[in-house]
């Protein structure tokens, strides 16, 4: 058995297309034997919310409104051609038609492959989010120092 290679991805964006890139790279790497860590921060936290639509998650009225506006995986906008939310629907349709994995399928594959999900402690604090607001696959809540330690010796991407 060859030595374990490692890929760590900082998922900063909550955009549908960029999250698709995060999960495509992550699952592809895990499937060819890499240890994969994904550190979700800021808008990227939308991808791992328990409630995938729009909900008033947050600690106070302001963060609750932010939570509603940001939403979860199902309402992630595209970075271009969003067309008031029609863009992701068009892309999902095209991906199914072309037999390419959709974002939801990639997330499920990431879970099945045992990719390590981590949430950023600082961004959660700002947005009034708790660990219980996220899917149970989120392994831990981390800060920069812990992320650097676990990504040490591998490749790191910021998306």
């Amino acid at each position: 058995m060859a030595e374990v290679k490692k890929l760590s991805i900082i998922a900063f964006s909550g955009d549908f297309d960029k999250l698709t890139a995060v999960f495509t790279l992550g699952t592809g790497a895990a499937a060819v034997g890499y240890e994969v860590n994904i550190f979700f921060t800021f808008w990227g936290l939308d991808a791992i919310k328990q409630k995938q639509g729009r909900s008033f998650t947050g600690g106070n009225w302001l963060t609750k409104i932010f939570g509603f506006m940001m939403g979860g995986l199902k309402v992630a906008p595209t970075s271009r051609f969003n067309f008031l939310g029609a863009g992701p629907k068009i892309f999902r349709h095209l991906m199914r038609k072309k037999n390419v994995a959709t974002l939801e399928e990639l997330v499920e594959a990431a879970k099945a492959l045992g990719i390590n999900f981590y949430a950023c402690e600082m961004a959660m604090h700002v947005l009034g989010l708790e660990k219980d607001d996220f899917i149970p696959e989120v392994k831990d809540v981390l800060g920069v120092a812990s992320f650097l330690k676990l990504s040490e010796g591998g490749e790191t991407l910021f998306i």
């Binding site: 060859a2 495509t24 699952t27 895990a30 499937a31 060819v32 994995a101 594959a109 099945a112 492959l113």
Partner: protein, 74 residues
């Protein structure tokens, strides 16, 4: 000593690798997995990745058109 068949000829990256990896991880020692795949990236990489991950590639044979069959053993 079970044999499973996996057809990834209609899949695209990364699902070609993802589905193979998930099926390989279910094998017991001595089991084999027959993977039907297309030329290009799947044919170039699936056998190589299986070897990298400690499996034995028993054979790679042309089936028809662009389809090939790779037999992998744990």
């Amino acid at each position: 000593m079970a044999t499973k068949v996996l057809d990834i000829t209609k899949e695209h990256c990364p699902m070609t690798f993802v589905k193979t990896k998930i099926e390989l991880s279910k094998l017991q020692a001595g089991d084999t997995l027959e993977v039907l795949l297309s030329e290009g990236e799947p044919l170039d990489n699936v056998p190589r990745n299986a070897i990298d991950q400690g499996y034995d590639v028993i054979s790679v044979e042309h089936v028809e058109g662009t389809t090939h069959k790779v037999i992998i053993k744990k």
